[in-house]
Symmetry: C2
Subunit: 426 residues, 2 copies
């Protein structure tokens, strides 16, 4: 089955588009204008921006004007935004340290908002596990369909890798290696780079983002959580040199408390598969290897994903596969001879795929399919508590919470110098 082919089976809804209230969309800067906004633009029958909230009203009004958001109303505070009834879905794309404050307030003040059904938040859910649990509980209490932007799960390469593995094309997985370069945490830092990225307290760092997204994808591809993990964290570069806008060294040094390297090794719960990860924190880049390599070895083949940066969720990847053709469900069980005849190879790459927009777009598509029931293939419950390892649907706050728990264990393992058991996900 080809889970990447959506267009053939999804239809344009007959109903009105979902009305979107957006927190953190600015026409002039930030993440949303580069990713969420172009994605929404491509789905005009499914989504329409009707409300906008930014740190100041001015910015929202400017954005409405610049982007010609004729249906959108600008708000000055979370409280009034939360009770605006002309909204079916709220999207939050602000810096993570502000998630907890905004989301708890939003969920509290939207209780009586009759139309609000969906809440879509950027990863990570909170700055730490405690915040994430708080937000998760608040959303549960409010009763709302949650979506988290672990958008790599929608990457065509990730979906294809998951397909190949779930169809037995590499046999049983017996080992995995990941080496990645997380970009920001090297010897130098651009002058304009926001300082919270380098502050361990903010919860936005090599572990939460470069590792967090990647390891979520690994679990998603292999359809398995971890049973046991060990980690060692390094902050070998406690001071970074500032670079000016031309990339020249300024000679000025600033402190960094966030780690610049993570070593992580673990066993997957399914099959007790050994997984080895090395996450490097930035420049200089590697000369003889890609900055993202995921190597999956199985009893009947291998699968490799490569990308140019340690952010699998926003990188255009290349998938290399060597193994067996997908087994005929009604066919005989495999033998050496049959295996030989069934050997195959594949290199999968979409040259012009814009992964910054594309993966997020596919999350929006999944939300639309869920809401409008526009994909006959999907057979999802009325409320999606957790995507888990389904091809269909989208990751939820529950998926986010599971990942937050793993990340918390990673910090704990490094601090306590222990190999830790990961509680079974229920």
């Amino acid at each position: 089955m080809n889970n990447n082919k959506r267009s053939a089976v999804s239809t344009v809804p007959k109903a009105n588009p979902l009305r979107v209230g957006f927190i953190g969309l600015s026409a002039v800067k930030g993440w949303a204008i580069k990713s969420h906004y172009p994605a929404i633009l491509q789905l005009p029958s499914q989504f329409k921006i009707t409300a906008l909230l930014n740190s100041d009203l001015e910015s929202s009004l400017n954005t409405i004007k610049k982007l010609k958001l004729t249906h959108a109303k600008a708000f000055a505070d979370v409280t009034s935004f939360a009770s605006f009834t002309d909204v079916d879905m709220i999207v939050v794309s602000v810096k993570v340290p502000n998630h907890h404050g905004i989301l708890t307030k939003l969920l509290e003040h939207s209780v009586k908002n009759p139309n609000l059904k969906y809440l879509f938040v950027e990863w990570s859910l909170g700055s730490n596990l405690r915040e994430a649990e708080d937000i998760y509980k608040a959303a549960q209490k409010r009763g709302i369909q949650t979506i988290i932007s672990l958008q790599g799960r929608k990457s065509p390469y990730i979906v294809r890798a998951k397909e190949l593995i779930s169809e037995g094309c590499i046999g049983e997985i017996n080992s995995i290696e990941i080496a990645a370069n997380g970009g920001w945490y090297g010897y130098e830092r651009p002058l304009k780079s926001p300082s919270y990225l380098y502050d361990i307290e903010s919860g936005v760092n090599l572990i939460s983002h470069s590792f967090g997204h990647t390891i979520d994808l690994l679990q998603y591809i292999t359809s398995s959580y971890f049973s046991e993990i060990n980690s060692m964290m390094f902050n070998n570069i406690p001071y970074q040199e500032l670079l000016d806008e031309h990339g020249k060294r300024t000679g000025k040094k600033v402190p960094k408390t966030a780690p610049d390297h993570l070593l992580f090794q673990a066993a997957l719960a399914n099959g007790n598969v050994p997984v080895s990860c090395s996450f490097k924190g930035g420049t200089p880049v590697k000369k003889f290897t890609k900055n993202l390599v995921i190597d999956i070895h199985g009893t009947k083949g291998d699968l490799k994903l490569e990308g140019d940066a340690g952010f699998a969720e926003i990188s255009n990847l290349v998938l290399y596969f060597c193994g067996m053709k997908a087994a005929d469900p009604g066919g005989p069980s495999s033998t050496s001879k049959a295996d030989e005849a069934n050997e195959t190879m594949e290199v999968y790459h979409l040259r012009n795929y814009n992964s910054v927009v594309g993966n997020i777009l596919r999350i929006y598509e999944a939300i639309a399919d869920f809401h409008f029931k526009s994909n006959p293939r999907h057979n999802l419950p009325a409320k999606l508590e957790r995507q888990g390892f389904l091809f269909e649907g989208f990751p939820t706050f529950k998926d986010a919470l599971i990942l937050h728990r793993l990340i918390d264990k990673v910090f704990q393992s490094s601090e306590e110098k222990k190999t830790l058991t990961v509680p079974i996900v229920s």
Copy 2:
């Protein structure tokens, strides 16, 4: 300095060759005939085999006849062999589980042997740390120059890598990844393969040999021991299927208690460098990557070693280097501009290098240089207690003991599920 160029500076000794007593050289089978013997053959002015001991006298007599070892005498037991005075050096190449018994007896009964000066033993020294300590102490008590066959230290690729790093060509090392495939410990086992290789008690396994040799080389290249380590061991294949002499499956399964995967992550004492290792235990081989990859990243460049098997000490490797030209010792300190002008690349490979013989040969050369003082470059003490990270000399029982201690920690870390501190080597 080019530490690989020996021939230009070493000379043929004026004295008689060293007389070698060999334990475990058979003309028809085993390791020594493939490695030690061809090495000795290439150094006729430096070494001469004068005594032979095997498990039975018959085999020694046959070997003397077949190899035309006209100067050699066959012995029936360790005791008489140990007191034979026509010997300067004893080489031991028998299976590791027999090391402790043979070596302790040999050292005990050779006390009064006036000419015996050198004892050269195959890695690993013992089946475990306790045995290794015993043997080390017995050798100390006897008073003899020891040599251990951690022969990868003499590999031209390893020496070149060590040179590049010690000359600052990749700057400060900031991270290292190793992925290797240790060959024997997969789903299948040849019928003829000796069963002790698959028995955890024998002390010959993925950890002691594939990992042991490789990690010794990493420490040697980087001139650093480890400060902290964590390991996770896996025996996911408790039964292997036997293959007949044609490589066909027999359907018969035999138990395996030795691990088939090792995850190891650690910090080097020098610079707190994160090191990530994944040692896979055998077939199927990897499709998209070499079966040995050592990736060393520095602040000014990268260095990569690749080989076809997870046994760096007997593999012909390829070295890839990208970084700086060796610094002019009297030159100015480095700047960005100077760095740019000094960038260079190198691919180093000796197409016809026989690494099975070559690395061992270079150990014999080092012993000869040490004994005959035939290399004017060498400035070694009269007794080499430990090679440590010197280019000159050869690894000794002390180096072996240090490696045994690390391997013991690796087992301990996996059993206790802890990240352990490695005591400082004194």
